[in-house]
């Protein structure tokens, strides 16, 4: 059913009895053209673009738990296209453009809110690096502005300007950046894909791949064997464990990233702000909670929870930057498992096994990539060619020396 203000009024007047399930709960068929393993944001987005844009509708999305139960439901909801390298920036800008039309595309309000992201610079070198990055953004067709200290002060006067250990020297602003309601993104994509005939099958864990003579022809699941012309794995957080079932090792480690939300507060922070002398990103949700995060804990983990040092460090960063938040209370914290890749950039590629495709390695930047990742993966699955904005995300780039290393940290996942 189509959503609109009218549908809400009509249903409101008739006791809200007319609403229909947002998605079906089908049993798996024996065969699909394409099976997507993983019903998270990227998997559901892939299903949406496959069915709507590339015309492939005989598709199943297999999800081990409930749809959207991975990092799409655990992140700090930031959407931005402010990358430096030519392997990344055009892709993320493509994603931004998809975000900008997503409500219309999905007929679902994912509450994409372009309130801007401001990256603060605390040294001349950092400001110069932001200038280089901002110019790269402009060259990709994105928007970017370099703010001097006065412009930063005008925009976010509540920061610690006068007594900071690392004084603010300026900032890189992307006005089109912002936040979106994370769960709604999963639900919106799921609803759309379902409406195009995609079977979204929850509580269905893939236990193995059917591989003969170097060709993948399907999957074994907790709900039976399913054959497929192509299998697209899209399970960030569990990539290594799933691909191990196909005998593959990946340039990926799993790490825990914690995220935090405060009690609901009247609006106090307009957009997203990041601290350049530490590691903090913070925004305020439409419900009033401050949503923030910092670095990964730094050790490999599948435990979906973190430890105190990072929690306290994030709070220190917050108090250093915004001492007026001292009496705001942390309400809840949680952890998500990140596919930390060896250069900090993702992988969207075929594998050496015919018919088996891989999408993962999103580190902790996967949320903003959701639309473009879905589109690019759908493109690859449908045409066997990489999408024009995702031509460098190859599995073999490490063997060839074509890393996409935004931070320059090298082959150590916990530094990205």
């Amino acid at each position: 059913m189509r959503y609109s203000a009218l549908s809400i009024i009509k249903n409101g007047l008739t006791g809200n009895k007319g609403w229909k399930p947002v998605w079906r709960e089908p049993d798996p068929k024996q065969h699909y053209d394409i099976v997507i393993v993983g019903g998270g944001g990227h998997g559901l987005a892939t299903a949406h673009y496959l069915s709507k844009k590339y015309g492939v509708t005989n598709v199943a999305v297999l999800e081990k738990g409930w749809l959207g139960s991975g990092n799409i439901g655990r992140n700090t909801t930031i959407v931005r296209s402010n990358y430096l390298l030519d392997g990344n920036q055009p892709f993320y800008e493509h994603s931004m453009k998809l975000w900008e039309g997503l409500e219309t595309d999905l007929n679902y309000n994912v509450m994409m809110s372009q309130r801007g992201i401001l990256n603060l610079a605390h040294s001349d070198a950092q400001r110069d690096a932001f200038a280089r990055r901002g110019n790269a953004m402009l060259m990709s067709g994105a928007d970017a502005e370099l703010l001097d200290i006065d412009a930063v002060r005008d925009m976010v006067p509540f920061l610690n300007f006068d007594n900071a250990r690392f004084p603010i020297k300026g900032g890189l602003l992307q006005r089109r950046a912002g936040t979106a309601r994370h769960d709604a993104v999963a639900w919106g994509y799921a609803r759309s894909a379902d409406s195009h005939g995609v079977d979204i099958i929850q509580n269905c864990e893939v236990t193995g791949f059917t591989i003969h003579d170097g060709k993948c022809t399907g999957v074994q699941t907790t709900r039976g064997t399913i054959s497929a012309n192509k299998v697209g794995v899209c399970v960030a957080g569990s990539s290594s464990m799933v691909m191990a079932k196909a005998g593959m090792r990946l340039p990926i480690e799993s790490h825990v990233l914690q995220a935090f939300v405060s009690e609901g507060l009247k609006p106090t922070i307009p957009g997203v702000v990041t601290f350049g002398a530490g590691h903090l990103y913070i925004s305020q949700s439409d419900k009033g909670g401050l949503v923030f995060g910092g670095d990964i804990d730094g050790y490999n983990s599948y435990a979906q929870r973190g430890n105190l040092p990072v929690i306290e460090h994030v709070a220190e960063d917050m108090m250093a930057l915004m001492p007026f938040l001292g009496r705001a209370r942390l309400l809840r914290m949680w952890g998500g498992v990140m596919d930390m890749s060896m250069d900090g950039s993702p992988i969207i590629d075929k594998t050496h096994i015919d018919g088996l495709y891989f999408n993962g390695g999103w580190c902790y930047g996967g949320f903003k990539a959701t639309p473009a990742s879905g589109d690019a993966y759908a493109h690859l699955l449908a045409t066997d060619r990489p999408h024009e904005t995702a031509t460098q995300y190859h599995l073999d780039r490490f063997a060839r020396g074509a890393m996409i290393d935004e931070k320059g940290a090298g082959a150590q996942p916990n530094l990205h």
């Binding site: 464990m241 480690e253 799993s254």
Partner: protein, 94 residues
């Protein structure tokens, strides 16, 4: 987390820096014919297990020992801590 340092006893994990898989001890032969391929495997490709994992930590805020810790990545339970140098000398990194 608490790491039971073989020489110094229990220490808070925040004194340490985490590097990665203990297989980093097994550095390939630079003169092998397929040295680049071997080094690629060594540096980039990971088991990344959910469960028991042997990994390298460095006691940066302490005695600057590199340690090999066996830790469960699902529970964070630590079952053994060894000095990496001892392991490296034995030549049994995995």
């Amino acid at each position: 987390m608490i790491i039971h340092h073989p020489l110094l006893g229990p220490r808070d994990a925040s004194e340490f820096v985490h590097l990665g898989d203990a297989t980093l001890l097994s550095r390939p032969d630079w003169q092998a014919d397929d040295a680049i391929a071997q080094f690629h495997e060594y540096l980039y490709q990971r088991e990344n297990p959910a469960g028991e994992y042997r990994e390298l930590w460095y006691h940066e805020q302490g005695d600057r020992s590199w340690l090999i810790i066996t830790r469960n990545t699902l529970t964070h339970e630590i079952s053994s801590v060894e000095l990496a140098r001892d392991v490296a000398r034995k030549g049994s990194a995995s």
